[in-house]
């Protein structure tokens, strides 16, 4: 009993240090700004458009992850096929690749002379230096997080439930919509938040594909991380700090709202 409680104290201490390690830089960032400086950048159109571009592009990437990642996760969990483990590893590949390398790799596909980019360019459709370029870069790095979250949840859904549904007269589609999807909705939500968060934080791949949006919607805007980097390298820490704080604040508020929404949902075991 005594040993247990000692272990608990030790674990609590370790946990406290870990939390502090994460929180300290965030709080330090938030509280090292004069309030008036923070207030002044809230009305700065360049900052507003940067934050808007970042939030929207990450949300778009998360939605695409949902549309493409959910069926992929389902196939990977429910079916056995040759090369399944290779496909599973491919999905995880973007997590391992340095993000700057991911950006260069994406450029070879989506760049003006890239595999697909050249085809789109010939049709007058640009990917690099556009909002879509940011979405593609963010999608590439966030997609695996979504797929893994949904895969883990699907593994917990008893396949017998889907079998029963079929024998009761439901098609594949009806079964997926009425049985599978409601049972993994929390994981989908978690996956969306994770991939959205990953998208917001992406810098390396984004900077290669779209440093500044030159064409299409949000023309002239920079993604927030690029703007912060730009301000930091050209004007110094004092200029970069308030924008970074604002991005952290907005993200924190949104994450807290999503977490509250998520915990209000129910979790079903199988």
């Amino acid at each position: 009993m005594y040993r247990m409680s000692l272990l608990l104290v030790f674990f609590s201490l370790i946990s406290f240090i870990s939390i502090l390690f994460i929180l300290l830089p965030i709080f330090s960032l938030l509280f090292s700004n004069p309030l008036e400086k923070l207030m002044s950048i809230i009305t700065d159109p360049q900052v507003i458009s940067a934050i808007l571009v970042t939030l929207l592009s990450a949300a778009s990437a998360a939605i695409i992850s949902f549309l493409f990642g959910t069926p992929l996760a389902y196939i990977l969990v429910r079916y056995e096929f040759p090369g399944k483990y290779i496909v599973d590893s491919i999905v995880e590949l973007p997590i391992m690749v340095p993000h700057i390398v991911a950006g260069i790799a994406l450029l070879t596909v989506w760049g003006p002379r890239g595999l697909l980019g050249a085809v789109f360019s010939s049709q007058g459709f640009k990917v690099t230096d556009t909002f879509i370029g940011i979405v593609i870069a963010e999608l590439f790095v966030s997609f695996p997080l979504y797929v893994k979250a949904v895969e883990d949840a699907l593994k917990l859904v008893d396949p017998t439930l889907e079998k029963v549904s079929r024998t009761l007269g439901a098609s594949y589609g009806f079964t997926f919509y009425k049985i599978t999807l409601p049972l993994i909705k929390n994981a989908i939500f978690t996956g969306l938040i994770l991939s959205w968060a990953r998208g917001i934080s992406e810098f390396g791949a984004v900077i290669i594909l779209t440093y500044v949006i030159l064409y299409g919607p949000f023309s002239g805007a920079m993604p927030a991380s690029t703007l912060i980097y730009n301000e930091f390298t050209s004007k110094g820490l004092s200029e970069a700090l308030p924008i970074a704080s604002l991005l952290v604040l907005v993200s924190l508020v949104l994450f807290i709202i999503f977490k509250i929404l998520q915990t209000r949902g129910e979790v079903y075991g199988s």
Partner: protein, 353 residues
């Protein structure tokens, strides 16, 4: 409705199910009995359309349903874990099959209320299924399976999660309700008592094959196969050499111990004797008509549920005898006591390998 399965073959991983042929006549209850891993669930899933068929045909009333998807077969399955939808209420679970069929809300409500009354589930209609007791879950699963008026209902050890007392109560209720619905039932289980109580036709399954089928009486009293006899707790299964007698019986020699069996047999033979079909006496019986009187000594006395299982050594052949606790006390049987085993020729079953 009649379910016919003809020469069915399927595969699940490395497990192969083959040569499966049987028929469940209209309004009858068939039980497939077999040990764990014999392929019972795979067979049910294949009939329901959840497994790919390699060979064979499945018919319902002579209509070939072999290539139909599960949702077009109208075959309900109640799985071992019942597989109630955890995110739905009792009402929603039962309603599901009607919803999948696109029936209007009002029609669904009438049917669900009707079946909930039969299964006494009205008070639980808005209860989440995860909050139900084992028996309540069982009733919801059956109601959900029956509401779609299936051509056939398949039951995969559906009572295994219930305690013994509740289980026996359920057998009665389920048999009565299923008879009222006039639906052919195919039930798989490893529980012999369950099979004996519920089944009208029994098939025994081993390693992906049906090795014997027949009426309950036939299978339990006169099995033809040594594995079936062993599975049905015959306990005394011996291989010997037979020589036919002129009176229509045969003499079977098992390691020097002679048994008289009915019928003319020659050469290598397997015989089976149920332990409860052997009488025991401490003195040589004077007026017995039984053809086999064997002298031996008791080597062990073990409790076997409410009964007692004796092992008697007859010329180095160990024979199991089941007696009541009352008989044990009355006869004052002890280790090493000399006893006489009385076995009728008709109690000895001839088995195939």
């Amino acid at each position: 409705m009649v379910l016919k399965v003809k020469d069915l073959m399927t595969r699940k991983g490395s497990f192969i199910l083959q040569n499966i042929t049987f028929e469940v006549p209209d309004n009858s209850y068939m039980v497939i009995l077999g040990p764990t891993g014999s392929g019972k669930t795979t067979l049910l899933e294949t009939i329901a359309g959840l497994n790919q068929i390699i060979k064979g045909k499945i018919f319902i009333n002579n209509n070939d349903i072999t290539d139909l998807p599960p949702e077009k077969r109208n075959i309900s399955v109640v799985f071992q874990n019942l597989a109630l939808f955890p995110h739905m209420t009792v009402y929603e679970n039962i309603e599901y099959g009607l919803l999948a069929r696109g029936l209007p809300k009002q029609v669904r409500a009438v049917k669900v209320n009707e079946i909930m009354k039969i299964f006494e589930l009205e008070s639980l209609r808005n209860r989440r299924v995860i909050n139900l007791s084992g028996g309540e879950k069982q009733r919801v699963a059956l109601a959900r399976a029956l509401i779609i008026k299936p051509h056939v209902i398949l039951l995969d050890e559906p009572f295994s999660s219930l305690d013994v007392g509740t289980r026996k109560q359920f057998w009665k209720e389920v048999k009565k309700i299923l008879k009222e619905y006039k639906v052919p039932v195919l039930h798989v289980t490893h529980d012999q008592e369950e099979a004996m109580y519920l089944g009208e036709i029994i098939a025994i399954m081993k390693d992906g094959k049906i090795i014997e089928q027949g009426s309950v009486e036939q299978i339990f009293s006169r099995p033809k196969n040594a594995f079936v006899a062993d599975f049905l707790q015959y306990q005394n299964i011996f291989t010997g050499v037979a020589e036919s007698n002129p009176d229509g019986t045969s003499k079977v020699s098992v390691n020097g111990t002679k048994f008289i069996v009915n019928g003319k047999h020659e050469g290598r033979i397997i015989i089976g004797i149920r332990p409860e079909n052997i009488l025991i006496s401490k003195t040589p019986p004077e007026f017995s008509t039984a053809r086999n009187i064997l002298r031996g000594s008791i080597v062990s006395i073990e409790p076997a549920g409410p009964a007692i299982l004796l092992t008697v050594n007859v010329n180095s052949l160990l024979i199991k005898v089941m007696i009541t606790r009352g008989s044990l006390e009355e006869l004052e049987l002890k280790h090493n006591d000399i006893v006489y085993l009385i076995i009728k020729a008709s109690s000895i079953t001839i088995l195939s390998e």
